[in-house]
Amino acid sequence: MGELQSIDYLIIGTYMLGVLSIGSYFAKYIHSTGDFFLAGRALPFWAIGMSIVVTDIGAIDLLTGAGAAYDRGIAQANFDWIGSVPALLLAAFIFVPYYWRAGVYTLPEFLGRRYNSATRWVHALVLLFFMLATVSIMLWTSAVFLRETLGWNEITAIWVTAAIVGCYAISGGLAAVVMTDVMQLVVMFVGTGALLALALWEVGGWSGLSQKILAQPNETEAYFQLLVEHREGTQYPWPGMVFSLGIIMSTAYFVGNQAVMQRALGARSEWDAKAGMLTAALFKLAIPILVFLPGMAARGLFPDLESSVAAIPTLIDRLLPPGLKGLMFAAFFAALMSSVDSYLNSCVTIFTGDVYRPLHKQVTGRDLSGRLGLILGRSLTAFVLVAAAIYAPRFKESETLYDVLQTLLSMFQGPTLAILLLGIFWRGATAWGGFAGLVIGVALTCVLNILGDAVFISDNPYLFVSFWSFWVSLGVTISISLFTKKKTPMELEGLVYGSVLSQVTNDNV
């Protein structure tokens, strides 16, 4: 167990101070719910792109993602390469313009307009459950990191992290979150870059790494292959990676994940929103190199670790000199905080916009005022953070948190994408068709996840669960829509493909 030196504490302290200062600075620009949840729609493309990447790459990737690369090799990189880029292009050119024109805060709100309130509620509740669980997992990851590196008590680590994140997420809203994300991306890239350089130097470069790993018992060249054969016992078979992750899971993740899409909706223009997505796709190239490659290097250097989660903490402990250790700690906190704050903000946005606001209107007959919405947003951020911190220790028993997170995602990605695609491209999709597609699809994912290796070749079948739930939801939505009442062309204005494109043409004329 390593000790931090004064220089390390100085670097971590400077970083924390910088983050809190940025958060406090942007707090003075928050006057309404629009400012809090969508940064007053003033974000430039570069901030959106950097924020999306750093939101997506959290402490979970840094610890358990690198741990999975330690175990399974370079195939882990698919999650950020083929599992991101085609989807970000689709998001940029199809989905972002639609959400932008519809002028909505959240994706459930969009589904509510296109289908009905029941669809909006179900989707909002599923998303809320996922986000709360994700924040809990992230806080637990922080606890594991601090336990492994500094020997901290897990519960103390959770509450310290929660308190620091809460300080600026509560005060600053989306603008503070995005601008601190920019700083955090830089810190994360510098810290992980230093770790990668030292790890590769120690292991003898790429050739040294491959020699050391291939010399290990039971290890094959598949460790260095992005695409792996489809056979029993393979964790990431290629059809799952290309057809499920590359097309369905990633598209659903980037267009259906409120934490990601909220950044695009906060853009200063539609062009910035699209360009922000493409910037994110470019930055994604570096993530496996900076995050997963150190995990593989740890396999070459320390092949007998008890748990793969210890890969990065071990590298930090054994390789990094004072100063760089502090920088890597700052990078870890950057990865952690950037994701926790984003998910917190999105969680509260969904609760306020899709659960509380409709209820408030129904009960009082009035819309939620900007000031009340703001107070509610800030109080809820604190409440969600506390709830997630209380729930976090329950993940102690989970062996691979990366797989837990992917399994949680697979429980709504396929059905969400199916009803989104049909809602945008097919005028015939009806309110109850969309609702049935979502509910039956989510129920199916639960059953398929339970079936697991009884049906699929992999122990963690989330790749196949998403694939099949997408097609079943598509079929259910089409079938029910054929027998239920369709919306009028007036009701579909600005919500389906044809009407959005005609808006572009008319504006230019």
Binding site: P86, P239, I450, L451, L501, V504
Partner: protein
């Protein structure tokens, strides 16, 4: 107080048992028929050579790249500060896709 905790523990243990029996029932009832449906697909996919996998992965990037050129220029430049060539997001997409295609070409298998 300890009585209440003991009661909660018993309830939790009962619900765990109930959940386990539901899981077992689903696996025993639905597992075999669904496995027999999925197995032929698994066998067919396992028989494909790995160059097919690489071709499918690269094909995904190439199709995405070709698709963006089918979009209208008005749509691409909408809300842009000006119409300089460097604001053409179709070119941005090409810059983004090129390194990924290269990586999958060399590290795909």
């Amino acid at each position: 107080m300890s009585f209440i905790f003991a009661l909660i523990e018993t309830a939790q243990s009962d619900s765990d048992d109930w959940w386990q029996s539901v899981r077992n029932w689903i696996r025993e009832t639905l597992g075999p028929p669904l496995k027999s449906l999925h197995e032929p697909i698994d066998n067919w996919l396992a028989s494909l050579p790995m160059w097919v996998a690489v071709a499918c992965a690269i094909g995904l990037f190439v199709i995405a790249g070709l698709w963006v050129w089918t979009l209208r220029t008005e749509f691409i430049f909408r809300d842009a500060p000006d119409r300089h060539w460097w604001r053409d997001l179709r070119l941005w997409a090409m810059v983004v896709l090129a390194p990924y295609i290269t990586i999958y070409l060399f590290l795909g298998r």
